[in-house]
């Protein structure tokens, strides 16, 4: 009787143990910064960033799987040009208009993973869907840097994972066609720093 009870309890605990291996993280909005770069007039590469992003990710080291969801506030786009001077509008204001990110109508862009692939013990690529301007297209993010450990800012009380990811897409796929093909390039390269705090 006692033996069967132990077996029963163990059987009940097994799924809980498996679930416990999935670690959930909340994105740190102040250190998760998506940057982008795009060709300008065929002469130079212009860079910009979004000042506010949020989201979450999960990781299961044992099963080598995970998920990622990032929400980027498009109205926080910045290329460092926010002083009008003698001009009617700044480049950042132009980027927020219907010509580019159309932030009034589409205040957020999102990335949701569909699968995470590992190289060794660390996540290597994240395949998913980017939704921008109401259009959803596949996008693969390459994790170029990844580390997990205690956060020294909290004397190790908080556990975090962080790193960098890269990717690229064609903006025309999302209907962002202003300035194509010569003034502003179609290919947009992404580079992102990210942090997540274990929940």
């Amino acid at each position: 009787m006692f033996k069967s009870s132990i077996v029963g309890v163990a059987a009940l605990a097994l799924p809980l143990a498996a679930a416990a291996q999935v670690e959930n993280y909340a994105i740190d909005p102040t250190h998760t910064v998506p940057y982008f770069e795009v060709d300008h007039l065929g002469f130079a590469t212009m860079r910009g960033r979004f000042d506010r992003a949020s989201g979450k990710f999960s990781i299961d080291h044992a099963a080598k799987s995970g998920s990622l969801e990032i929400v980027v506030e498009t109205n926080t786009v910045s290329t460092g040009d926010n002083d009008r001077g003698s001009r009617p509008r700044t480049r950042d204001e132009h980027l927020k208009s219907a010509d580019f990110f159309n932030t009034a109508e589409f205040p957020q862009m999102t990335f949701k993973s569909t699968s995470v692939h590992f190289a060794g013990d660390n996540p290597d690529t994240v395949q998913g869907n980017l939704t921008l301007l109401g259009v959803t297209k596949p996008l693969t993010l390459k994790i170029v840097r990844w580390k997990c450990g205690p956060d020294i800012r909290t004397q190790g009380k908080r556990y975090q994972c962080g790193g960098n990811a890269t990717g690229s897409f064609k903006r025309s796929d999302f209907g962002m066609k202003y300035g194509l093909p010569t003034a502003i390039g179609d290919e947009v390269n992404l580079w992102m720093s990210f942090y997540g705090f274990r929940q």
């Binding site: 002083d83 009008r84 009617p88 509008r89 204001e93 132009h94 927020k96 208009s97 219907a98 010509d99 159309n102 009034a104 109508e105 205040p107 301007l133 109401g134 259009v135 209907g175 066609k177 202003y178 194509l180 093909p181 010569t182």
Partner: protein, 272 residues
């Protein structure tokens, strides 16, 4: 060739002007030259951003409504006579169209901005639609002059408001109006006045201004000033003057109002 078609001057100026010129001459025997304007606008839209309609964004709704306006105009031209009741219905439909296009975006604006901006857009479109139908549909020269000034005014003030896309659309509308006016000025004969032309320019021009207000930074009062641009085209012109002179004078009147709208857009742009 692709580089040429990608040039903004071609997309917003040369191409719509050429399309409107050719079509206004070709359709003149059929008394359908009023359709040349929207064909020119559609040609510009195709070159600038493509004629895609999914997802149905506010800007794409503008294009849908611009394409629908001449269809309604044709019905008026061939099935009905413009009446005050008809004009009131058209005005309400135009206002409803503006809200259909922009309210989903405006509703998310803070405080009382949705009502102020939505009201401005609806009022502007209602006035433009009703006025164009009642006062300008019968006179192709005055309507052409109003369209020229409204397109340029909406286009330039859109550029000043941070949207080159809407600016190009507005200038394309003006180029189309130029292509509609030029044959009349050169031949010295007025064309067939039509509701299809009047509604095309009024609805499209008004929506471009409202779009620049909603999706860029055009002040709401500029939209209202742009809405009265066609009134300038109704000011007196010498009745016996040649057609080209009538067109020039009516255009100048309208340009003054359109210029005022642009001037109002400029100082506001200096405020950060």
């Amino acid at each position: 060739m692709q580089d040429l078609l990608a040039n903004p001057a071609v997309q917003g100026g040369v191409a719509p002007l050429a399309i409107a010129l050719v079509l206004s001459l070709a359709l003149r025997p059929l008394k359908l030259e009023g359709l040349s304007l929207i064909a020119a606008f559609a040609g510009s839209v195709y070159l600038v951003s493509g004629l895609d309609f999914t997802p149905l964004t506010s800007t794409r709704k503008v294009v849908v409504l611009a394409l629908a306006a001449p269809v309604v105009g044709l019905l008026v031209d061939f099935a009905f006579k413009p009446t005050k009741i008809g004009a009131a219905l058209i005005a309400m439909a135009a206002a409803g169209g503006a809200l259909w296009a922009f309210w989903p975006v405006l509703a998310h604006k803070p405080d009382n901005l949705p009502w102020l901006l939505g009201g401005s857009a609806a009022l502007a479109l209602a006035f433009l639609g009703g006025f164009a139908l009642l006062q300008l549909a019968a006179d192709s020269v005055r309507a052409g002059a109003a369209a020229l000034a409204l397109g340029l005014g909406a286009g330039i003030s859109s550029v000043l408001s941070a949207s080159v896309l809407y600016g190009t659309y507005g200038i394309a509308l003006a180029a189309g109006a130029g292509g509609y006016l030029l044959p009349q000025m050169i031949m010295g004969r007025k064309g067939q006045g039509s509701a299809s032309f009047a509604l095309s320019f009024a609805v499209t021009g008004g929506l471009i201004a409202a779009g620049a207000m909603t999706l860029a930074q055009l002040p709401w009062y500029c939209v209202l000033v742009l809405a009265v641009v066609p009134v300038g085209a109704m000011l007196p012109v010498p009745r016996n003057a040649p057609v080209w002179l009538q067109a020039v004078i009516a255009s100048i009147y309208s340009f003054v109002i359109a210029g005022a709208a642009c001037a109002l857009a400029w100082p506001s742009s200096q405020q950060t």
